[in-house]
Symmetry: C2
Amino acid sequence: MSAQLLQGLPVARALRERTAQNVAQLHGDGIVPRVAVVVATDNESTGWYVRSIAQQAAKASIHCDVLDLGAQADAAELTAALRALAADDQVHGIILQTPLPAGVDAAQLVRLIPPEKDVDGANPLSFGRLAAGMPAFAAATAQAVIEVLDHYRIPLAGEDVAVIGRSMVVGKPLAQLLLQRDATVTLCHSRTSDLANHTRRASVVVVAAGRAGLLRSEHVGLGSVVVDVGTNVDDQGNLVGDADAASVQSIARALTPVPGGVGTVTTALLMLRTTQSALERSVVPA
Amino acid sequence: MSAQLLQGLPVARALRERTAQNVAQLHGDGIVPRVAVVVATDNESTGWYVRSIAQQAAKASIHCDVLDLGAQADAAELTAALRALAADDQVHGIILQTPLPAGVDAAQLVRLIPPEKDVDGANPLSFGRLAAGMPAFAAATAQAVIEVLDHYRIPLAGEDVAVIGRSMVVGKPLAQLLLQRDATVTLCHSRTSDLANHTRRASVVVVAAGRAGLLRSEHVGLGSVVVDVGTNVDDQGNLVGDADAASVQSIARALTPVPGGVGTVTTALLMLRTTQSALERSVVPA
């Protein structure tokens, strides 16, 4: 028995179609949707990720400003850049890229991104608004998990879902999104006593722990759906997820691949949200 | 076999001792801790609760301003009152009492309470900061549950805890507090398919669903601890919890009573937090 692979590409394509419709409407109204990415690192994988955002934006006719302040940037420079972007009516989305220079407090900086421009869902206020049921962008990767599950019509209401990992970028916001969808959510993490005991009873298991090979066949129930949010680099330099795919596939009925799964969806979601933010503001008289 | 009753009074007393120490220090520095309660309802139980806050404040030598704007107050009046309190350096804690007049958006109003004065933990920003591990006041009732568990030395790290109810005043913030303490948390609610399946395996069950008699012996594991956050009024006009106490006591090893359990602790916590807020600000040069 082999599990269905829940590919991210069809999900990303569907999001891009919605983005294109929004862009057409915005251009018709004389508005160019605009996203700004603030970078302050020499990190190679960040550079790669930012280029992929810029490329997707270009393809979608979204203007993308990459503000590379350099790895020596200090908190004052980053604060000034974010304040300027927050105040600029022409900018609809703001993404603050990590890692940040040593000594710079990311938590203080993300608070400068207004929730309506916080397309990455990084501001704790966005998280609070999400939990409170107010309009807000959830952390993009968490939302990408939901987009994948919805695209493949995986039911969530009344289902038991186990989430492994309690980060502010995946586990915690994903729990809020799953609760909104009436799932019963168990949040597991490195201190969970008997992981398999929780995950085997879940119809959906989402693993976002940052540990290659953490999830194996003995952790999943027969016929369950596994969403792998992990992005680890193995000894051979390959990108691998948190699930041991070969092992999990023998029991699960469906699994998202790494690469080509959730990660593929996240960037497409940032573009869609930038257009949504622009549309929201375009209806409000200036 | 009968369960131990985890009384709230000793927990509240311990909090009041800490409050008294803080008040002594503040008075020594010439500072009078001050909490403001904003009311806009004729609701009887709200009136009773506000009087109990005022009485506890008086006993603790904390100044308590009750701003009763009346059941006809509109959003503009409430906004003005909250803005004035937010800007007033003499006010260290702000509590916005519910219910609010019809048509007034509570979610918009609580955002006017600065996190450092949000002793009730009502602002979504407080929730977001809590989840992100930043300094913040958690929703007071959720924190009261933790205070009870800590006082009676109930272990949480690595334990399975089931929370029934997903509100912003108990379930959701409590899940964040429990995660901070390294518990594995399952959030159950009205749409959970098989409640007993989740709650029976938990070493601690917290019920905050607002349904009298919801939790019975078949829902709890032998030797578990049950925290009852419910406040329901029965046919005879008595205050009862969400647990069927007689039934649960035959299986659980410990149970918080209603009344006399968690509710007793919440008001004491509001007082302690008001003094903490005052102390925080007293060290910052004006």
